[in-house]
Amino acid sequence: MTGTLATLAVIFAQLSLLAFGGGNTILPEMQRQVVDVHHWMPAREFSALFALAQAAPGPNMMIVTLVGWHVAGWAGMLVASIAKFGPSSLVTMAVLHGWDRFKDRPWRRIAQRGLVPVTAGLVAASALLIAKASDPNAIAWAITGVCAVLAFRTKIHPLWLLGAGSLIGLTGFGQF
């Protein structure tokens, strides 16, 4: 148990400091650690937890809390949350006072701009991996495709898309 908690702490502390461009960039590494390296759950369950977290209010990284809770109960939830939110918060607190001094420096702009393609590649990888694990059949792929197009083209609220997808799923249409 202590071993599991320590492992959770190490994994999420590392993810915390690598999450440039927000939480979705670290999903593939989280999935790799949780599913492939530690076998805490199958890929499909990881996607289900990701979906649950998307349907809940608040920051989009609540999957961290869910993974911690799933792996080691309340203690796991606490350890995963502190490890994921603590280190990046400490960095924010440390940098806050210096921000006025370096925000307009050329290197800061170059560094931020240089991280954009890295973020883009990582979020695209997240999308492919989560879609592959979430879509066991043609109807699921269809829901994914339609939601992707609607979310990209319109300003429809994401909760409507999640709700509609769930309802279509509930009918069992096209699922065996």
Binding site: S16, F20, A51, K103, R113, P117, T144, C147, S166, G169
Partner: protein
């Protein structure tokens, strides 16, 4: 119609309010419970328009820091705002307020899921929910990737990252240690080219 719109855009002269630690906690608790599908627009409205903790310019500036650093934007914002007003106690009040509510909600949903996941209806529902969530993620990826098509070097870095992480499944840390310098090199090249274009345009204008 037009004068009304103009008035709505005018900066209000109402003075800013410095939140107490309690107000920071309650403010972010409310935000955590009420923001679905991305907390940023709501955070801006609550902090700038409703509670008047920051001016619009201060908010944008602070958000710039939060986007630059690792971690979620609004999570970092809750820490930075709390820190700015009340040091580490304020930072703790902000982030705890923000994640307390959603943590309880999400664990409640998790308990529900574990107890009902063998029910075929629930299983079907989850296939639909997860498929829709995957669609949202694809749309988000498209919005970040498509602007890169004008910058082949940046697009190449993104493609490299995609292949490494999604197909080769390399660990994140070494991947980022290789890709970030490449991304920075691409950004430098783009900045130099832009500077060159501006210089040429200026020369053209001078002539």
């Amino acid at each position: 119609m037009i004068p009304d719109l103009a008035r709505a855009d005018e900066p209000t002269t109402e003075p800013l309010h410095t939140p107490t630690i309690r107000e920071l906690f309650v403010g972010f608790l409310t935000l955590g419970f009420t923001s679905f599908g991305g907390a940023l627009p709501l955070a801006r409205r609550a902090i700038v328009d409703q509670r008047r903790w920051l001016t619009a310019a201060e908010f944008t500036d602070l958000l710039g820091l939060c986007q630059f650093l690792p971690g979620g934007n609004v999570i970092n914002l809750s820490v930075a705002l709390g820190m700015r007003f009340h040091g580490w106690r304020g930072a703790l009040a902000g982030i705890l307020g923000f994640i307390a509510g959603p943590s309880l909600v999400v664990v409640g949903l998790g308990v529900l899921y574990e107890h009902t996941q063998d029910d075929p209806h629930v299983r079907h529902l989850f296939v639909g929910l997860a498929a829709a969530a995957a669609g949202l993620l694809i749309s988000m990826a498209a919005k970040i990737v498509l602007p890169l098509r004008r910058d082949p070097a940046a697009a190449a870095v993104a493609a490299l990252g995609f292949v490494a992480i999604a197909i080769l499944r390399t660990p994140l840390l070494p991947t980022m240690l290789v890709l970030t310098p490449l991304g920075v090199a691409a950004a430098k090249r783009a900045a130099r080219r832009n500077a060159g274009t501006v210089d040429n345009e200026n020369k053209g204008a001078a002539r």
